[in-house]
């Protein structure tokens, strides 16, 4: 027995030793993340609008907090989570006290407030996303106010309640005031500032430091041994982290297969092949995006689309599972709500699930159109769909050329609607054309500036009936979707005007909705209402596939998979 005990003790000791060895991981290797989408525009991220730019700079400067795969908060630059006052108007942020700029000076609340007040809110810089920090007070659009409380604390004050403004606050990242003041007021100098374009100021703010950026080729970062979050554990564990740009998706996939890169996204079509490669680990993770079919309810769309019942009938005819299966190769889920499934606010209960189960019924769809007067019944009992003037119904379906998923969805919808006797004409147009000619609208005959929603009576330059588009939304703040679905929503290009929906959106942002339970109820109601109203046909949530070389460890597959990437390592 004792021998056994000794042996056991020995084994335990050994394993502990092994563990401790494991803990002292050594930084090694180069992590290469491949992409075939375009290069970033700038590292001077405050000027950027493309997500690649934010992504690049984000490796060197952390935001206040990050979210893990369960949407739980992981503190980054913030010392604790953003505190919201009882009345929902004052937001207090406390940052860590060990944050340093490259010259060794501390990152202070002053820097954050300066970034907001003097850069983002300024007239000269033209921060593209300034409206994130604006509110409407007495019919006027004004900026919120930011104030330094002490060295590490600052507060943001709103005059109107917005329940989900906190999610904006959490994304905040600072610009170094001591450098930025040199360029203040001169947009050209600011744009060309070497410190910002080479990210030389980032100090210990991110796991990696900027090393090299070869345009249209690669963005190289090197390990930041000073990283505030992980210097004690030796993280990050990659000597270099590289984003490599490929000219085509084909070569990108080939590079992953050949082991030339560490990680990339995999086209759903190729998953069958890639999961069989034992030198790779592939994961399927949820995404924030959903596909939708917009119905043009403006005056230059088919008049029937203004009727809820017609929209419902059309949605009933389109098989969502078929879309998932055929277009997304199974990597997706039918969607019924404007809240993406991975969102903590998502609720399944009571949703009208058009396009699956009992609400997928082509005959019922025809019957309904017949009831509404948009069809005639022939002697043999067959129903023929007609437009308001009795001619066979012909609808135009638009999407952006070159996006294969969208195009495929259009093809499939064409087939589905053909089955109930609606002829669909597909129009694949360049993205810029889609934006300018189909989505932007104005009231004809006026010299209005075209916008996405110029209110009732505004129409787009080219007529259209349906449009397939992919939306990328923030799962945490569904109320932000009011831009699409409320009467005054700036992106409500399809012209859906419903006062009940407007009211619920207002409610979701209101003071009482600060109570998460209340908000949950509002969203539940809104989801159900919208699933009935069908302002658009929510088609499917997409799943993403990612592939890593099998020697990468520390991965936590999920919607926010990269949240702990500074702890990843090579075995």
């Amino acid at each position: 027995m004792t021998k056994l005990k000794i042996l056991a003790f020995f084994l335990v000791a050994m394993s502990l030793l092994a563990c401790s060895c494991q803990l002292a991981k050594e930084a090694s290797g180069v992590f290469i993340s491949g992409t075939s989408s375009g290069d970033a525009e700038t590292l001077n991220w405050i000027l950027a609008a493309d997500s690649a730019s934010f992504g690049y700079a984000g490796h060197t400067v952390d935001s206040l907090v990050a979210y893990d795969n369960e949407w739980d908060i992981q503190l980054r630059c913030a010392a604790r989570d953003v505190e919201v006052s009882e009345d929902g108007l004052v937001y207090t942020v406390t940052i860590r006290n060990d944050l340093r700029w490259s010259d060794g000076s501390p990152v202070t609340a002053e820097d954050y407030v300066y970034t907001l007040e003097n850069l983002m809110f300024s007239d000269w810089l033209n921060y593209p996303y300034k409206s994130d920090w604006q509110e409407e007070v007495d019919g006027e659009t004004v900026f919120i106010t930011a104030e330094v409380v002490d060295e590490t604390t600052f507060s943001l004050t709103r005059r109107t309640v917005d329940t989900e403004f906190v999610y904006n606050v959490r994304t905040l990242a600072p610009y170094p005031k001591y450098i930025a003041v040199k360029y203040e007021g001169d947009v050209k100098a600011f744009t060309e500032a070497p410190e910002f374009n080479n990210l030389t100021y980032t100090g210990n703010l991110g796991p990696y430091k900027f090393l090299e950026w070869v345009r249209n080729d690669k963005f190289v970062l090197e390990r930041n041994p000073e990283y505030y979050l992980a210097k004690d554990v030796g993280a990050p564990y990659f000597e270099q982290y590289t984003i490599k740009i490929f000219g085509t998706a084909a070569t990108l996939h080939a590079a992953l297969e050949a082991g030339d890169i560490t990680y990339t996204g995999i086209d759903p079509e190729k998953m069958g092949k890639f999961r069989e490669m034992d030198w790779l680990n592939v994961y399927t993770v949820p995404t924030r995006s959903y596909l939708l079919l917009a119905y043009n309810q403006r005056d230059n769309g088919w008049v029937g689309l203004k009727q809820r019942e017609v929209r419902q009938a059309l949605s009933m005819a389109i098989d969502k599972e078929l879309i998932v299966e055929q277009v997304l190769y199974g990597f997706g889920e039918p969607a019924f709500s404007f809240i993406p499934k991975p969102s903590p606010w998502y609720m399944d209960e009571g949703l009208a699930k058009y396009g699956v189960g009992s609400l997928l019924d082509k005959e019922a769809a025809q019957e309904r159109l017949l009831e509404l007067g948009y069809a005639v019944k022939r002697d043999d009992g067959n129903i023929e769909v007609r437009d308001e003037e009795g001619r066979p119904l012909k609808l135009t379906l638009v999407t952006n050329a070159g996006n294969e998923v969208n195009e495929d969805v259009c093809h499939l919808i064409k087939e589905e609607l053909a089955a109930i006797g609606i002829e669909v004409e597909l129009k694949f147009v360049p993205w810029a054309t889609e934006l300018r000619k189909y989505m932007m609208n104005k009231i004809p005959g006026t010299d209005q500036e075209p916008r996405y929603n110029n209110g009732v009576g505004a129409v787009s330059e080219e007529p259209w009936d349906m449009l397939v588009i992919l939306f990328n939304t923030h799962p945490l703040s569904p109320s932000g979707s009011d831009v699409f679905y409320s009467t005054k929503g700036g992106l409500n290009f399809w012209g859906f005007f419903n006062s009940q929906v407007d009211g619920l959106f207002r409610q979701a942002k209101s003071k009482e909705a600060l109570d998460e339970e209340v908000r949950r109820e509002v969203y539940a109601g809104l989801s159900v209402l919208m699933s009935e109203e069908q302002p658009v046909n929510f088609l499917a949530f997409q799943l993403a596939n990612v592939g890593f070389q099998s020697n990468v460890r520390g991965l936590e597959p999920g919607i926010n998979m990269g949240y702990n990437y500074h702890l990843w390592y090579f075995e």
Binding site: T248, A250, H253, E269, G272, V324, D408
Partner: protein
């Protein structure tokens, strides 16, 4: 002589009338817009009849003589056969095959006849991957792509696109190039100087960059692609025709025509142009492949006309699925290659046949 001029004038007036008529129809009668390409067809068809068919018909014996010379070159004959086959395919094919844009998701990635493909597919209900075996059948002789579109139909449609672009753009380029070359050589002096300097400028423009720029700005439309290639691709022709015409200018029949009081226009159009026709035919055959490849390259980088199915687009789609459905990229690639090869063979054969030095 007079009779032939009659035919010429008729051939000149007829297309003009047709264009006018189409324009009127376009504006007042037909609601749908007449494809801009239609105008090009009519215009170029007229020019083709006046300057290619009519002189060739007028000198049947010479044509026959050259044909005998071409016939000795087996590669050229094979190339010509392939081109004729392709033209036939492009004209008749669409009536025999399915709609090349018809998507059928149930039938995706079917391999060509005689091939079997095993693929691993994610099944939605079970969340498992299952292995599916697809075997090619005669329903889709060349198989289908990842949208279940019939590859044969796409190839046939692409043949039409490639030939249209190749012929029309080359037609424009040659018409322009010939005109500029002949005028430049005939009038000489200042005209020559200005025209040749202009040619120099055009030649200096990086052609493909310009092509991409204009197509990006004005939209990827077949008519625009044709026009841009045509309007920028005439420079080489102009130079060649110019030097050829320079040697003709002092020949007796031109002198005679001038002495008889023919106007400059008449001399250029009825005496000079027909006499460089053999050179034009050679240039045409040798520049068509370049145009076809340029269009394919445009489509390959995503600037093709989305309204038509061209080889370049199929190739673009196919190269993304090379590892799962190789045939999609192979078929248009091979067709593109064979077409270009065929035109090169024919062009080379014609050049040898027209070359008095080659003994063959």
């Amino acid at each position: 002589m007079t009779k032939r001029f009659g035919i010429r004038n008729l051939a000149l007036i007829l297309p003009a009338l047709l264009i006018g008529l189409t324009l009127l129809l376009d504006i007042f009668v037909i609601e749908t817009i007449v494809e801009p390409l239609v105008y090009l067809y009519i215009a170029l068809g007229g020019i083709f009849i006046i300057y290619v068919i009519s002189p060739l018909y007028a000198s049947r014996r010479l044509v026959n003589y050259y044909w005998q010379r071409v016939k000795r070159n087996r590669l050229a004959v094979a190339g010509l056969g392939f081109i004729l086959f392709l033209i036939l395919l492009a004209i008749i094919g669409p009536f025999l095959t399915a709609d090349p844009t018809a998507v059928s998701f149930e039938e995706k990635n079917i391999p060509p006849v005689g091939f079997t493909l095993k693929e691993s597919i994610y099944e939605l209900e079970t969340g498992q991957f299952i292995t599916r075996t697809a075997t090619g059948d005669w329903q889709h002789p060349l198989g289908t792509d990842n949208k279940g579109r019939d590859l044969l139909a796409m190839i046939i449609s692409g043949a039409g696109v490639s030939l249209q672009v190749g012929l029309l753009a080359t037609g424009i380029a040659l018409a322009l190039g010939t005109l500029i070359g002949v005028i430049s050589a005939y009038f000489g002096g200042k005209t020559d100087n200005i025209l040749m300097r202009f040619t120099d400028i055009m030649m200096t423009f990086p052609f493909f960059l310009l092509l991409v720029l204009i197509v990006f700005i004005f939209g990827a439309n077949l008519a625009i692609i044709v026009l841009v290639i045509g309007l920028t691709g005439w420079t080489g022709t102009a130079r060649l025709i110019r030097s050829e015409t320079l040697s003709l200018r002092t020949r007796e029949f031109i002198m005679a025509a001038k002495a008889l009081g023919a106007s400059d226009g008449r001399v250029v159009l009825t005496h000079l142009v027909p006499n460089v026709i053999s050179l034009i035919i050679v240039i045409a055959t040798l520049s068509i492949p370049g145009v076809i490849v340029a269009e394919a390259a445009l489509s390959f980088i995503g600037l093709g006309d989305p309204a038509v199915t061209s080889w370049g687009m199929v190739l673009r789609a196919g190269q993304q699925t090379l590892d799962t459905a190789w045939w999609v990229a192979v078929a248009p690639g091979v067709m593109l290659f064979l077409t270009v090869l065929a035109f090169n063979f024919v062009g080379d054969g014609l050049r040898d046949a027209f070359d008095p030095r080659s003994s063959l």
